[in-house]
């Protein structure tokens, strides 16, 4: 009985470790920043006007909003491509998304500034664009991968293409789509750090501030938090 | 000569070879047959030390094969397997030339040898610049045979080399191989599970089961071993009929012809005829009559030899 629980937990150990480390860091940072300050001389009093938990929340907000919007668009695009059965549309969408992915996230964020100004908005736009590729690609591949026999059965039962899509093909593609969402989330958590350079909130703020003022404590505060967050979310979403 | 004594090999709990003794004379084509898992491949692979044995010794060219450095041993022995394993990044020429190049032959000698082998196996010289993925299964197989023969080894090891080829091409390759063997007279150890292929190609047949040798003899002489149930089952109750495929009409008439007609075909004709007599014309246009008894008599003579 005990070994079964232990065995079930085993693959999740790393995830738990990351989670614990992350929470400890985020919520406990203020308590141990003095101790850290011994090794990393910095101006403790200046350490982030905004506390880590707040920054983490901001960061998550940016990531989740942009990714959700991307999920919506990708689902619609993917379903549209599938319904029209158009190879050309598919290659067009994938082609454009591929090109978007070649452009580094920092560049897309920087380029969104002329359109939306500084602050959170350009980051939201950039992350939204960036998440569309992995998610839409997976939606399309997932839908394509539905076994023809199953599609036939659905047709035979008398479903319209739309019903088939919603009731059969989409549910069957779920694992693939979820994988795409996971990839997008992890990428976006990383990319959101750069948002601080254009005035957005999030865990990038102390990092940038730390770089600019040569303050290792600030850097540490933000970096450890975001690295743990990235590692945690990568493992947790399985 | 290859002398194998007391060869044993375990794979974990399973006994693959059980104190096997075998003597393979020079210039003979010895075919190992048996069901899957009988140990024939293990036996083959232990000759060039591709697998290590637990007990026993194998003497090749007068010395225990363990005393040779493995690479040297393998270069002296030709090796041809079912999947051919041609190097995909080398041309046909480069594939065949691998061992001669390792042995540091000079290029003119290599070129001659390669062309000779291509002609021998019936491949056009234009194929020399092709890459393996451009060849058909049968062609690749033949290149494999060329490669095995390239450095003129005395011994050739072949493990189901014609297995991956379609039946029609297979017959062609088998006949081609038989002719090559007639000309080169190499010591060949051949593994197959196809009884007909074995009967066609073998100078000596070795039937194996569960790591033991049940019978070792010329195909015609295998009648002695037919007492053993398994041998009879494996070779087939129609074994004598299969044997007829080995013998051409030219051997029967004791003449120097190049007819491809086998006694097997004659048997077929006999079965169809209403008189029980088949007439054949020899090279001097003389007519001979063949009856069922003649075939039986012939086989018995061959057995005695």
């Amino acid at each position: 009985m005990k070994t079964r629980i232990v065995n079930d937990l085993k693959p999740h150990i790393m995830t738990l470790i990351y989670l614990v480390l992350f929470l400890v860091w985020v919520f406990g940072f203020d308590s141990f920043k003095e101790t850290l300050a011994i090794w990393f001389p910095g101006r403790i009093d200046l350490v982030s006007r905004t506390t880590l938990p707040v920054l983490t929340l901001q960061h998550l907000q940016i990531v989740l909003i942009s990714t959700s919007a991307a999920i919506l668009v990708s689902l619609i695009l993917g379903m549209l491509v599938h319904l029209t059965q158009s190879d050309e549309l598919e290659s067009l969408v994938l082609g454009l998304a591929n090109i978007l992915e070649t452009i580094p996230s920092a560049a897309i964020i920087a380029l969104s500034v002329p359109l939306l100004g500084y602050g959170n908005a350009p980051v939201l736009l950039a992350l939204w664009l960036y998440a569309i590729l992995p998610i839409s690609r997976n939606v399309m591949v997932g839908l394509r991968g539905v076994i023809p026999a199953v599609q036939d059965a659905a047709k035979g039962v008398g479903m319209t293409p739309l019903q088939r899509l919603l009731k059969v093909e989409m549910p069957l593609s779920r694992p693939m789509i979820l994988a795409g969402i996971k990839t997008a989330l992890v990428i976006n958590i990383s990319a959101a750090t750069i948002g601080a350079t254009v005035g957005a909130g999030g865990l990038g703020v102390p990092i940038i501030a730390g770089i600019r003022t040569y303050d290792p404590l600030l850097v540490l505060q933000g970096s450890i938090a975001v690295i743990l967050l990235a590692l945690l979310s990568e493992r947790a979403i399985r | 000569m290859i002398k194998i004594s007391g060869l044993s090999k375990h794979y974990g709990e399973t006994l693959a070879l059980d104190k096997v003794d075998l003597k393979i004379m020079d210039g003979e084509c010895v075919v190992l047959i048996g069901p899957s898992g009988c140990g024939k491949s293990s036996l083959l692979r232990s000759i060039n030390r591709m697998i290590d044995i637990d007990e026993g010794e194998i003497i090749v060219a007068g010395k225990d094969n363990k005393t040779y450095p493995p690479q040297e041993l393998r270069r002296k022995i030709g090796y041809c397997i079912q999947n051919v394993g041609l190097f995909p990044h080398y041309t046909v020429y480069e594939n065949i030339a691998v061992v001669p190049r390792m042995e540091k032959w000079d290029e003119t000698r290599i070129k001659e040898r390669v062309e000779f082998l291509m002609n021998l196996t019936g491949l056009p010289l234009s194929y020399l610049t092709k890459k393996p993925h451009e060849l058909s299964g049968g062609e690749a197989q033949r290149v494999g045979v060329c490669r095995a023969l390239a450095a003129d080894p005395d011994i050739l090891l072949m493990d189901e080399p014609f297995g991956a080829v379609d039946p029609m091409t297979r017959i062609k390759i088998q006949l081609a191989f038989k002719n090559i063997q007639k000309e080169l007279k190499k010591t060949v150890v051949f593994v197959t599970h196809d009884v007909e292929e074995a009967i066609l190609l073998a100078d000596k047949l070795v039937v194996m089961q569960e790591g033991k040798i049940l019978g070792y003899d010329a195909p015609e002489a295998f009648a002695k071993h037919m007492e053993e149930d398994f041998v009879r089952l494996f070779l087939g109750e129609d074994y004598p009929v299969k044997l007829l495929k080995r013998h051409g009409i030219d051997d029967y008439l004791k003449q120097d012809g190049d007819s491809s007609v086998t006694l097997h075909e004659i048997l077929g004709r006999l079965l169809k005829s209403e008189t029980g007599v088949v007439e054949v014309t020899d090279t001097q246009n003389k007519i001979h009559e063949i009856r069922f008894e003649d075939l039986t008599r012939y086989l018995r003579e061959e057995e005695r030899r």
Binding site: F40, E88, L89, L92, G95, T102, I103, P104, S105, A106, A107, A110, L111, V113, P114, V186, I189, S190, A191, T193, I194, T197, V198, G204, I207, I208, I211, Y214, P216, V219, L220, G222, S223, I224, V226, I227, A230, L231, E234 | N48, M50, P70, Q71, E72, R74, R75, K76, Y79, I81, V84, G85, L86, F87, P88, H89, V99, M102, P132, H133, R147
Partner: protein, 384 residues
């Protein structure tokens, strides 16, 4: 052209839409002023504008009804249009505005971008699409001398030397950090194959650098480097300090490890066992099998890994600009801090173009070497 209907339709729509309804740029009396939007009709003038619309409609008609003609001749003409548009745009002079011609500038707007995208879409379904697209870009560069009033051009002229210096720095940093990772990456990939128990550790280690945000790694790398350079001053003289190229190089190096390791591992894993068996049976020593069989057969995969690492790095090197490592990132972040968005553009476009060109070059070289090997190479094998 039956295939490509949607793309050409999209392209046609975009070009027309941009020409009629969208602002092509903004007129700014100085670097930081608010811009006055410029419509296509504005900088073209009434007559030219109507002519352009008509010409565009004609072109679209030709595409629809005489696609072969379009493909052969007309499409080559299309690729000049963006440059032409830019030249005309840069000549725009607004009415009733007081400005100093040496300081005022015109920034590009969404109209131009969408027009260009439209043209690219139209070109993409003709013969030699990549060549045409590349040429269209080349022409813009070539005629940049005639586009003086464009903000982009002005920024470039201001910092021409710096620009070129940072451009080469960017490329050097990106490429050399990837090259440094080649040998370790191959060794790690080989180790992962040879020692299956170590595999998880190796990949776990290498993977962390891909998941962790580059910025955070970069920032973290500064800390030990600063300490080191303080402890050993000679390092600082060599240029290895907490800021500058050192932290960027190290982080980019670590980042390049995963694609190379993963691809090497995948390539080694799929070497045909029959080929290996034969190599041994023919009498090759382990060293000879390594050189004559393993290596040539794994080469395509390793190559794919290097390609991924390098193209990735070109993008990531932007962040080096934040830590004093120079490169296009320095321009981008400078522009961001000064709200000089043309400068941001000046920094961003070269990075994107470099990444695309690099990828194309790799494609050409890859096809060339793979053809030499004659191994059936599946594009989808690339592990990213």
């Amino acid at each position: 052209m039956k295939t490509g209907r949607i793309t050409t339709a999209a392209g046609s729509f975009l070009t027309l839409f941009a020409l009629t309804l969208l602002p092509w740029g903004e007129f700014k009396i100085n670097r930081v002023a608010r811009g006055i939007p410029i419509q296509a009709m504005g900088f073209l003038g009434w007559a030219m504008w109507t002519t352009s619309i008509v010409v565009l409609l004609l072109i679209i008609a030709v595409i629809r009804w005489k696609p072969r003609f379009f493909n052969a001749i007309l499409s080559w003409i299309l690729l000049f249009l963006p440059s032409l548009g830019l030249i005309l745009l840069s000549r725009y002079i607004p009415d009733g505005v007081d400005f100093d011609p040496k300081v005022a500038r015109i920034s590009l707007g969404i109209g131009f971008y969408l027009f260009y995208v439209g043209i690219l879409l139209l070109l993409s379904k003709t013969a030699y699409p990549k060549l045409k697209i590349f040429l269209s870009f080349l022409f813009i560069l070539a005629f940049a001398g005639n586009m003086d009033a464009l903000g982009l051009v002005r920024e470039y002229r201001n910092i021409e030397e710096t620009f070129l210096r940072e451009l080469s720095r960017h490329l050097t940093l990106a490429l050399f950090s990837a090259m440094a990772a080649i040998l370790p990456g191959i060794l790690l990939g080989y180790a992962a194959m040879r020692y299956p128990k170590a595999r998880e550790w190796i990949f776990g280690f290498v993977h962390v650098f891909q998941v962790a945000p580059t910025l955070s790694l970069l920032a973290l790398m500064m800390i030990p480097l600063t300490a080191l350079s303080k402890a050993f001053p000679f390092l600082a003289d060599l240029g290895i300090k907490g800021i500058g190229f050192a932290p960027a190089f190290i982080v980019l190096f670590l980042y390049s490890l995963l694609p190379i390791t993963a691809n090497t591992y995948a390539g080694l894993k799929q070497t045909d066992p029959a080929v290996l068996e034969n190599a041994v049976a023919l009498g090759m020593s382990p060293r000879q099998t390594l050189i004559n069989v393993w290596f040539p057969l794994t080469l395509p995969s390793i190559f794919a890994g290097i390609r991924t690492a390098m193209t990735q790095n070109v993008g990531n090197t932007i962040l080096a600009g934040l830590v004093g490592g120079g490169g296009m990132g320095a321009l981008i972040f400078l522009g961001l801090s000064q709200s000089a968005l043309d400068l941001v553009l000046l920094g961003t476009i070269p990075v994107v173009v470099m990444a695309l060109i690099l990828d194309a070059v790799f494609e050409v070289v890859e096809v060339g070497t793979v053809r030499k090997l004659g191994v059936d190479y599946d594009q989808n094998l690339r592990v990213e």
